[in-house]
Amino acid sequence: MANRTDPAAKSIRGTNPQNLVEKIVRSKIYQNTYWKEQCFGLTAETLVDKAMELDHIGGTYGGNRKPTPFLCLVMKMLQIQPEKDIVVEFIKNDDYKYVRVMGAFYLRLTGIDSDIYRYLEPLYNDYRKVRRKSPDGNFILTHVDVVIDELLTTDYSCDIAIPRIKKRWTLESLGALDARKSVLEDDFEEEEEKDENEQDGLEEEAAHEKDYYRGRSPVRDRERDYRRDSHRHRDRDYDRDRDYDRERGRGRDRDRDREREGRERDRRDRDHGRRRIRSRSRDRKRHAHSSMSPRRHEAEDGNPPEESKKKKGKKEKKDDGTDHPDPEIAEANRIRASLGLKPLKL
């Protein structure tokens, strides 16, 4: 039968590798004509030919959740389980970006943690455009490094739940990986040096400068910074941070945070910290976190803090209706507010 996994294949994470894809999505793939016509009897070599013909990535789309050819080929890879060398070849090849993304996706699903970081992080430097099919059927523009970032930081992509891996700093502390080194690091060091020379001398800075001019920081310093900022890399709001940084003309500087001088920039940003916190909270609402704080409600209402304090005495002056006397309605409104919806109209 065409849908059986290769009997010689290893089990991934304790189960049939095809079970990495959920039952419903798997059934959709098996019923799909692309799968039945093109993916029958594929081997590793013929799979490459099919992969070269890909022109978009994506999961399932449309009202009846049709799978994309990308998803079918990933499923085929899970079924035949190519060797690691072949997968690494897919990733290393430069000409066909969709083959690269497919190899990276497969490695992310089936590889071991240190391999994943080792092979996927160089792909952060690939900024080519990639076409992505959204769930409603339209195409979206994205880039290779955005896709890789999504693979490394989120736990769901292209309608497949991505297995959890250890955090990078855990592997670093175990010694399995080296500290992350970006290709753009040297450029940023020069820029930071220039910025630093222009700054007014604050006490902390004087101490930092002394360290800097004494020579390169000890690895411990860098590790400390990286650990301190490592949550930023893994935070869901990381995208927001990156956009914020991009706005401020800092470009692709996700490794800037790692540098010691990054602390100074944070101090500079402290004035804008309030705005930053607000945008983050709005972002969190979109991600359906339902934690409450008065400040967040103010951000949502658009009222300045003083006004809502004055109105605190009167009930139902809050726009989102979370203080309605009926607890059921108040609860419903609280959930709606956390999802970013308007309150119930009674």
């Binding site: 769930p135 359906a288 959930i335 308007k342 119930l344």
Partner: protein, 73 residues
Amino acid sequence: MIEVVLNDRLGKKVRVKCNEDDTIGDLKKLVASQTGTRPDKIRIQKWYIINKDHITLKDYEIHDGMGLELYYN
């Protein structure tokens, strides 16, 4: 404010309070927060008519107390 009932005939029956001018997408988010599945995994149907995400409940003529079918993608 209307209240709709969603039933998946496998044991999950959910009552959701919403506005008439909410879209189906919003309704899916509300259902997801109550049942714990992801909103994009949910499909809301009314006898073979799959309801689309961008249309409001009012336009689908979904009234108070109406029952909808809950399926999964």
